[in-house]
Structures are given as C-alpha cells and as structure tokens.
C-alpha cells in the first residue's frame, strides 16, 4: 500500500481541489475507509481494495472492494435488525432521523472537504451538504405521518371493523445514485428507513468517501445496529447479488442503464422482490423527496374483525 502518496488535508483545501500545504510539518493521520455492517466497521472479508481517483488524477483513498460475502453478511445484519426497527414507535424513528440531521450538520465541514476532494466546487459541496441535512429533517417529519395519509378504515358492507395500513416491506438492497457522493445516498436511505425498513447500501463507486463518513454519522445517531449497512465496491460485480438474494424484499437501483434494469427485473422474479428504478430523479429538487418514495417500499395490510350485532348496532364502523 502506498499510504505515503495519498495525502489528505486535515487543514485546508484550495479552490482547485488541491490541498494547501500547511506551514507545520505535522504528519496527518489518514482515515481507513472501512465498510459498515451491523453497526460496526469491519474491513471487507475479501481483503481487497480499490483506489478511486478524482478528475485531477488524485488518488482518494484505499477503499474496500466489497465482496458477495460482505453483502450476505450485511443482509443477515439487516434482517436481524428489522423486527426491532419496524417495531419502534414511529415517533421514535422520527427522533432518530432528526438526530442524524443534527450529527450531519455538526460535521458539515468534514463533508464539504470530502466532496471537494471528489471534484465538487466549494459552493456545490455546501449546497449538497445543506440539502442532505434538510432532507433528513424532511423525512424525520414524515415518520409518524405518512401512515395517516395512506391508511384507510374501509366501510365494508358486512358487520366488520376493517382497516388497511402500510407496513415496511422488510430488507431493501439499495444501489445508491452513482453520480453523487452524498445527497442521492442520503435520499434513498432516508425514504427506506423512515418507513421502517432496514437496508444494505452500495455507495457510488467513483465517489465513495462520503458514504463511509455518513456511516459514522449513523453510528452516533442512536440508529440501531444493522438498520443501515454500507458497502463500497464495484457496481457491476455486486449488483447481481443485490437483486438475487432470496432474503431481500426489495431492490432500489438509480442508474439509467436499460440492460441492467432488464436483468434486475428478470432476476427479481426469483422471489418476486419489489424493484424500484429511480433513474430520472433530480435529487437536488423537490422532486427528490416525497412520501411516495416511502410508500414504494411499503406493503398494504388489511385486517378484519367481526362486530357483534348486539344492542341495535348495525354493520360497519
């Protein structure tokens, strides 16, 4: 490993994306970008790494090249976390998403730096981080409200109490938008977990840094272990496993790639997992957030119970 060649500025980044050499000769402590599974930061079990490079040819980091087994372990962690997360009070989920926003806001400078290393201008980086914080707050507010908009008490003609409510679909495998390092990733994660799902996320292959730093935000937000699991690696290698796994209930894919989309729809037939293609979403606009993203990963359950017709009561509720 050529650690000494990868310089990461802990202090200042210039407008051209290159770090300003600091006057002192203190050696920086470089971050090892490990993946995030079950609330912990293991390395990839495959031991492999890859080195994403920015537009100016600067190597960003030795990033884990996650394997199929990492994905399987992550699904197991997400499945284990599902009963607890979906069993939390909706209000509690909202509190946790709000804290995620707090933690992200507190680390804005770090994320702006990382985005600038990955080819964003300072202005664009600030905008992206601000929108990400606001997006978390947006979904925090939905946690205990979307149910009221999308549930129904159904006026059945027989003497029954009958109601339909959304329930989380379960474990969602998400291939985050590949062009963004942060905002797209935060958007798809927030919609999934607001609805009570747990997820395994593949970060942008070329801009993976913010995903792992965001995992650190998740780790300090009271989010239970396993609710979000973050992998870095190669999309073409991992996407087949994301859509094949029999214990995954839904897959989200954000690239406008018709061949991959077709293959995913075919492979989803294995266990009829739900497939969402978000390939034309402008995450920077209001179209990038809505309760319909939550509802895409929900199932509707209808429950019936008889109402005894005593004391003159009629049918229905």
């Amino acid at each position: 490993m050529e650690k000494t060649e990868i310089k990461k500025s802990a202090l200042r980044i210039g407008e051209d994306g290159l770090e300003k050499k600091s006057a002192s000769r203190r050696l920086e402590v470089l971050k090892t970008y490990k993946i995030f599974i079950g609330g912990q930061f293991p390395r990839t079990e495959s031991g492999r790494y890859y080195v994403p490079v920015n537009n100016r040819g600067k190597k960003l980091a030795n990033v884990c090249l996650s394997s199929r087994k990492d994905f399987r372990d992550a699904v197991a962690a997400a499945r284990a976390a599902f009963p607890g997360w979906s069993g939390r009070a909706a209000f509690n989920r909202g509190q946790i998403l709000y804290r995620m926003a707090e933690m992200l806001e507190g680390r804005k400078a770090q994320f702006i730096e990382e985005l600038m290393q990955q080819d964003a201008s300072r202005k664009k980086a600030e905008r992206e981080v601000n929108l990400s914080v606001d997006r978390l707050i947006y979904y925090a507010g939905w946690c205990d409200k979307y149910q009221q908009l999308f549930s129904a008490v159904n006026p059945v003609a027989s003497s029954h109490f009958n109601f339909s409510v959304p329930e989380p679909t379960g474990v969602v495998s998400i291939i985050a938008p590949q062009q963004d390092s942060l905002l797209g990733l935060v958007s798809v994660i927030a919609a999934a977990i607001t609805g009570g799902n747990t997820c395994v996320v593949l970060a942008s292959e070329t801009k993976p840094l913010c995903s792992i730093t965001f995992a650190e935000v998740l780790g300090t937000s009271d989010l239970p272990a396993g609710v979000v699991n973050m992998l870095t690696g190669k999309l073409t290698e991992l996407s087949p496993w994301f859509v094949d796994h029999m214990d995954v209930n839904a897959t989200v894919f954000c690239e406008a790639d018709p061949e991959t989309q077709q293959r995913m729809r075919e492979r989803s037939a294995l266990n009829l997992k739900r497939i969402c293609f978000y390939d034309r979403i402008d995450w920077y606009s209001n179209a990038g957030q809505s309760p319909y993203f939550i509802m895409d990963l929900q199932e509707i359950k209808t429950t019936w119970h008889p109402i005894e017709e005593i004391a003159g009561s009629g049918s229905g509720y």
Partner: protein, 498 residues
Amino acid sequence: MPATRKKQSKGNTLRLKFDTSWSYAPAPESRTAASFRARYELFINGEWQQPLSKKYFDTINPATEERLSEIAEAGAADVDRAVRAARTAYDKVWRRMPAKERAKYIYRIARMIQERAREFAIIESLDGGKPIRESRDFDVPTAANHFFYYAGWADKLEYAFPNRGTEPLGVAGQIIPWNFPLLMAAWKIAPALATGNTVVLKPAETTPLTALKLAELLQEADLPPGVVNIVTGAGATGAAIVNHPDIDKIAFTGSTEVGKIIQRAIAGTKKKATLELGGKAANIIFEDAPLDQAVEGVINGIYFNQGHVCCAGSRLYVQESVAKEVIRKLRDRIETLIVGDPLDKNTDIGAINSRQQLETIEKYLSIGKKEGAEMYQSSCPLPGRGYWCRPTIFTNVAQSNRIAQEEIFGPVLAVLTFRTDDEVIEKANNSPYGLSAGVWTDKGSKIFNMTRRMRAGVVWANTFNKFDPSSPFGGYKESGYGREGGLHGLLPYLNLVG
C-alpha cells in the same frame, strides 16, 4: 343438520349422532333460468368476431363432464386485433370522455349484472363447478358491487393521492383464473375502466362463459366498442397478451409459477404489472379462542369453493392444549358437508374445476401419506361422473412437509400444533407466500399483536374469507404485489403526476 337425537356426554360438549334416517331431498336450481350459446366467438371492438386462428375449444361442466359450449381460441393475430381496438378506443373515446360519464357506464354494468344475477349464478356453477349457493350469494353480488364501488371513483381521482394528479396507463392486458371467473373479471375490469384505461381480458380456458355473458351485457349497456375486449384461449393466448408491445399494463391473477414467468417476460419493457398469486395461509387457533366459531371459520376457510381459493386457510395451527378437541370437532363437521351437484342448493362442496386439478390434488394426497401425515376424509357419497374430492384433513403434519409448504388448491387441510406465541408466529411466517392469515382468540390485545406479526396482505381475526369492494386485497412476498379493492386498488392502473 340432520341430527335427531343428541347424546349428552359427561363434559359440556354435545356428541352429535349422524346415523339418523333424515336425508336431504334434492333442491336443484333450474337450468332454464339461464341461457348461453352453443358457440362463442371473440368479443373484439364491441362485436363478435371469428378467430383468425380458426380454432375452437370446448368448455365442459366439471360435475357431469358434458360439453357446454364451443369457444373461440384467440391466436396472436386475434390478440393484436383486440389490442388495437383497445388502443383506438382509449385514444379516441375513453380518455376523452368526461369522468362522470365514464362512471355512468360502469354503474350501468353493475345494475345490469344485478338484473341478471340468477342467470350469471347458474352459468358460473355450470361452467366452474362451484355450488349454486356460493355463486348466487357470493360471487355474483360481490362482482356487481365491485363495479358499483369503482364507478363512484371515476370522477374523484384528484382526491385519491395527496399532492399528485393521476393519468391512466392506457391499455391493460388482464388474465384471470378459473376459481372465481365473474368476480375476477369484475376485480380487473372495474378499476381499469374507472381510472380511464381500456381492457383486453382473457378468462381462464376452463371457465370462459360468464366473461362472455358479461360481454353480451356490455353490448347491451352500450359500452363504446373496444373499451373492453374479451379474448378466450389458454396459455398461448395469455402469452400473446403479455408479450404484445402495445400493452401498457399487465394484471394477472393465478399461480406463483406463472406470475414469475410474466415478471421475467416483461423485464426490459416499460410495462407495469400487478400480480395476485398463490398462498398457503396459516389459520391459527389459540386455546382461548371461541372453539365452535373457530372450527366453523376453519371449515369455511378451506372448504369454501372446494378450496380453490388463493387465500384459503390451508394450514391450521392449533394450540396443543385444545388440539384434540378441535380436531374432533373438525372431523365431525366435515362429516356433515355435502359433496354433490353444484346446482343443488343443498350442496356444500361442488366439483373440482377440471380433471387436471383433481389429479394435482390426488398427487398431494399421496405425497401427504408418504410424508407420514395421517389422512382423514369424510364418508359422504360422491356422484358418478364428474371430478370430485371429499373434504380431507391431514394431522400429524410437520412444518417442512410438502403438504404444509406447497399450495394444493383443493379441499385439503393440513393440521399442525404449537405451544407458544413466538413459535406459531415463526411457523406461520415460514413460507414463501404471504397472502392471508387467520387468528382465532378471544383476547383483544392478543388479536392485534398477532395480526401485526403475520406477514400477509390480508389478516382475518375471528373470521375468515371475507371480501368487500372497498377492502384492499393482495399479497406479501411470493403471493404477489399490488392491491385490488378500495382506495389502494386504484394505484395499479394510474400514473401519479406532478
């Protein structure tokens, strides 16, 4: 119930005597109240058109094996004609029609079904084998109500989805099964029309008649030509619909196996789909359940419509402490079920829909015995010709037995036991399916704990097999996706915009 003397046993349960001299006199519904043609063509663009394929097939009465009618078989070219008629009707007429006028057509259809309810019920029982009591009291009225309910939504779609406008999808290709032929046609056509789409529908090849009678009704109702097209045929006709490039939406109800084939077939196209597939529902009786009502609910859950129900309660989980009593009550109860002529109003269990389905059921009966389960069947007499199966109970069933995991689609109940709540929740959810579930307990707080933990789209608590047009129906997991009925049933036929 033909018991003249009840022997009081030492406990507080009554022991019924079945060896009485009373029997039921036949009470046949008259066939003369219904008429249907000897031959049916394809219903395309508001007219009866001969199939370009020049082929026909027979539909028979499964209770007597007599041929009822000769039915046109639509080939790919016929399907193409139908889709083009639907597309023209969509572009030129249906999508331009004010929504409230659309609604009035659908209301008209509902009312006309009610006017001819008896005829539809008789034909449904003749063609499919289900008892006349069911087609008369359940299938036909529920189908009419489904049209009536969705008619009301047509001009109110702007209220249905907050912050979103709606657009129809275009032409819907719909493929329906043989277990509730008219009702499934209503479940497909009504929401599609109400939301502004046009339809190409294929009824099942063993039960085309009520869909074709519905086509006659649509002509009488003056529905604009091409809005609904009925193309009869079997798997190849269905495939032609699924693969047709000018169809915007596929709606399928049938087996999980075919649902997966359809999912793969439309991959890479822009077609949307909803699938309503098989199930292996768990019906759970707790020790604090009202046992007699629970037994009645379980019986209804599996023997209604000969068990040809995707949401049939085909697995019974009974808590160990009451297992012996429940099993005894189940055996007593199935002894009273009458298997016979579907047109006889005394009949509880009608004919199995086809020879093929009967062979499938018999295959599972022998699998169950080989797997070590204990089989019990009632001793009722069976008619001579036709396809029949006595109500069957398997006890001593293990969770991994094929008769506990695979859908049999017949009057066969697998009984398993459990001790704790956690155990039964895990066992009930241990299935690739997730269509429905039943919970029987008198304890209020337990009811909603259990219904919440069942991973199924429809959960019946202290009841079973209840349906209503306003109540969304559909599955989790491999039982499919999308909902039919209620507000949520609009979504499969709309694009949300804005």
